[in-house]
Structures are given as C-alpha cells and as structure tokens.
C-alpha cells in the first residue's frame, strides 16, 4: 500500500507533523492500517527531497510540520482518482499454500480448505457483527464502513473460491488425478565438464 501517496493525500488538507499523520491515516482507514512512525518520517524525508512536501516550521514541542507543495497536491489527486493495478504480490499466500499443499505428500488439502472456510466465515461474522452495531447515518462512521465492506466482500469472494476449489479437488480426486508429488530429480550429473 502506498504510504507515500497516503501521506501526500492527508497533507493536501493542511499541515501535519509525523505522528499526527500516522494517526490521521489510521483513523481514516477505519483503524485497518497502522504505519510505523519510522516509516512515516523516512517517507516524509524522501517526499521533501522530491519537492512534493515542504516544512512549515516547528511546533512548541519541536516537531516539524509539513505541507504539500503544488506538485505534491497534483500527485495526491492523481493517486486518489486512479484505479490501482493488481499487484503481483497481491499476497495470495493462501493460494500459494494450497498450490504447494496439493503437491506435497501427506498434506490433507481438504482439511486445509475446510479449516480456511470456517476461519474466513468467522472473520465475516465478526465484520458483520461490528457493522450491525454501527449507526449507518453517522457520517463519522463512513470511512470505517467503506473499509469494512471491502473486507466483507473479500471474505465472501474467498469463501466462494474455497467452495469452488473444494469441488475441483473432489472431482480431480474422483478421477484419480494426482499432481506430481515428488521432487523433480536434480539434473543428472553428466560427464565432468571439460576444463579447457
């Protein structure tokens, strides 16, 4: 997630010091994103170097306040209004784990899928319970609701995917199809390579 762009976006609204930025971003993402303070400061330094933010003096505690430059504001707007690219590191650890699991002997993949379904369903229940208690007409809850809904839809998608692959796994097992579960042989060492 772009720490840099998020900092810029907050700074288009006014001056902030580092710690305040951290809090702003956290509360504006419904508490779902906590950035480490060191990362905030190092990012601010780079933004300053690149001419996207500038210092606006210090407060009584000696904390430097920052504001977005004109260029910085434009960049923030651009980020805020453009769709994100599906990143390859779209952290589908679960998919990686399952893909590996079907190729490793003795892994009970069905059990893994099932455990994941229950786990994801529980997460969905927690999110839903929290949402149920939120006053939908309170504008202060809006940011949280937006983030919560994304998480809810992600859980649902994951559950549908898990249900789907449960079928795929069962069909494949029924047809006796098994992915190769052995390690590929290291290339046979041929004749010693000629030196010279």
């Amino acid at each position: 997630m772009s720490v840099r762009a998020s900092i810029l976006a907050v700074l288009t609204m006014g001056e902030c010091h580092g710690y305040q930025l951290r809090q702003e971003i956290e509360s504006r993402t419904g508490g779902s994103w906590q950035i480490n303070i060191g990362q905030i400061y190092s990012t601010l330094e780079r933004l300053e170097r690149d001419g996207l933010v500038e210092s606006a003096g210090s407060n009584e505690q000696g904390q430097t306040r920052y504001r977005a430059t004109a260029t910085g504001s434009v960049e923030a707007q651009l980020w805020l209004t453009s769709a994100i690219e599906a990143s390859p590191e779209a952290r589908n650890e679960l998919a990686m784990k399952l893909a590996l699991a079907v190729t490793i002997p003795g892994c009970d993949v069905e059990k893994l899928v099932h455990a994941q379904r229950v786990q994801t369903m529980r997460t969905l229940q927690v999110l839903t319970a929290t949402k149920r208690d939120v006053d939908q007409n309170d504008p202060a809850e809006l940011p949280w609701l937006l983030v919560a809904d994304l998480n809810i839809f992600n859980c649902e998608a994951e559950l549908r995917w898990l249900e789907h692959i449960e079928g795929t796994l069962a069909r494949s097992a029924a047809r006796g199809l098994n992915p190769n579960q052995t390690l590929s042989q290291p290339a046979k060492r041929g004749r010693p390579t000629k030196t010279n």
Binding site: I152, F153, E156
Partner: protein, 237 residues
C-alpha cells in the same frame, strides 16, 4: 433463556419409492429460539428447501417430529395446521408465491384479513411492511407489473406482517443486488431481534453472517455448525 419456538427432531424425508427414491433429509435436528436467526447453507439439492418446507408445515416428514411453539405439526388437523401457518409462521418462498390477481398490498395484507383483521388496519400494517422493504410506492401494482427483485421484497414483507413468531425464508435475496440485500437482511434481523425465531436459507455468505448460527447441510444431513459467538477481543482484530 429464550424459549424454543421451532424444533425439528430427527427429521427424515424420502420422496418417491423404489428406483425413484430420494432421501432429501436423513435425520436433521434443529432448535431455534425466540430472537435467534439460524442460517442454512449447502450445495444445490442438499435438502435446504425440504428442511424449510417441513419446518413450515408445508410438507410432512417421513419420520421425526416438527414442533412450532407447543404444537407437533404432524399431529395437527388440517384446519389447525392452516391456522398456525397463517398466524404464526411467515414463509418466504424461493419462487415468491404471490397471488397474481391481487395487488401488492392485497397480497401482503391477505393473511391478516383472512384472520379477521379489519381491512383498513390490515392494509396499514401491510403498507408499513412494504415501506420497510423500500417499496411502499408499489402498493397498488400487480405482481406482474413489478420487477423480480421487487416481487421478492413483497414476498418478504408478506412473511413478516402481523404477529408472526417464526420466520422461514428460502433464498430471500436471490434476486436482489447487494445493497438491497443488505437493507432486507437488516430489516429481517430487526424483526428477529424483536423476539421472532428465524431460519434463513442462503447461498450468500454475507447474509449468513448476520445469523447467530450457520448450519451446513450436505446430502440431507446437518454436518457442521459455525456459531457467531463473538468475544470482545475479536472486535479489536
């Protein structure tokens, strides 16, 4: 402790005989208390609608018992069963089941009017239910003059108008977009919280997550329960 309003005890249901025999339910048991919503999930053909129709007294179990409030449905006389179904059980059918020759509001008010409620009062209650489904303005149209999703919401309004104590809903949001589904489940949940016992059949995990318990049914058997007992720590997650 809340009272158990609906109970299925080791219910089996077999359709057909000989080669055509289908074991739609193989010993399903279930208790639903006042104020509790139970979701039923499972693959197509796993027995969800069968379970619901039996709970609602629309089908008789082959073996086992069904108790609604304090009555055992299989032992009731047809007239007693009809009264119980009209007064106590709200049922949302998978295919809506609206009466085409009645307007939307007449469809919703019908069970109340059949029970002798004054027409004006019944229509007022029906309109309230329609408004809660955000379709108050469709009151005087006929079922074939509204959209599928709107028909679905009429069916839901009809299921919870009046003093129902048991609400059974079969895929009540199958024809709805997710925003409308959420409005519907919120309204449904509110009715349940007021002391109704509810069973919700759904393929949508987002909806099931509103229930207190999720039962997973496979080949006519309840194979799993995921309850929604959330600890305060989990809220911080």
């Amino acid at each position: 402790m809340s009272k158990v309003l609906l109970e299925l005890i080791d219910v089996q249901k077999t359709y057909g005989t000989g080669e055509n025999e289908v074991h739609a339910l193989r010993g399903a048991s279930l208790q639903v208390k006042a104020g509790e919503l139970v979701a039923i999930m499972g693959a197509s053909g796993s027995g969800k609608s069968t379970l619901l129709t039996i709970a609602g007294g629309l089908e008789v179990p082959t073996t086992g018992d069904v108790r609604v409030l304090d009555s055992s449905l299989p032992t009731l006389k047809p007239t007693q069963l009809a009264t119980l179904r009209r007064q106590t059980i709200g049922y949302v059918f998978q295919d809506f089941n609206l009466i085409p020759s009645l307007t939307v509001i007449e469809n919703v008010a019908l069970p109340l009017e059949l029970d002798g409620m004054k027409v004006r009062k019944a229509r007022k209650a029906a309109l309230d239910a329609l408004v809660s489904m955000e379709i108050g303005e469709l009151a005087n149209r006929f079922p074939d003059e509204i959209s599928g999703g709107q028909r679905q919401r009429v069916a839901i309004a009809r299921s919870f108008v009046g003093p129902r104590q048991v609400l059974l809903a079969d895929e009540p949001t199958g024809a709805l977009d997710s925003k409308t589904s959420e409005a519907v489940i919120r309204a449904l949940r509110k009715r349940i919280d007021a002391g109704i016992a509810g069973v919700l059949v759904t393929h949508d995990a987002k909806l099931a997550a509103w229930a207190d318990r999720i039962l997973v049914i496979r080949d006519g058997q309840i194979v799993e329960e995921i309850s929604n007992n959330i600890t305060p720590e989990q809220f911080g997650a």
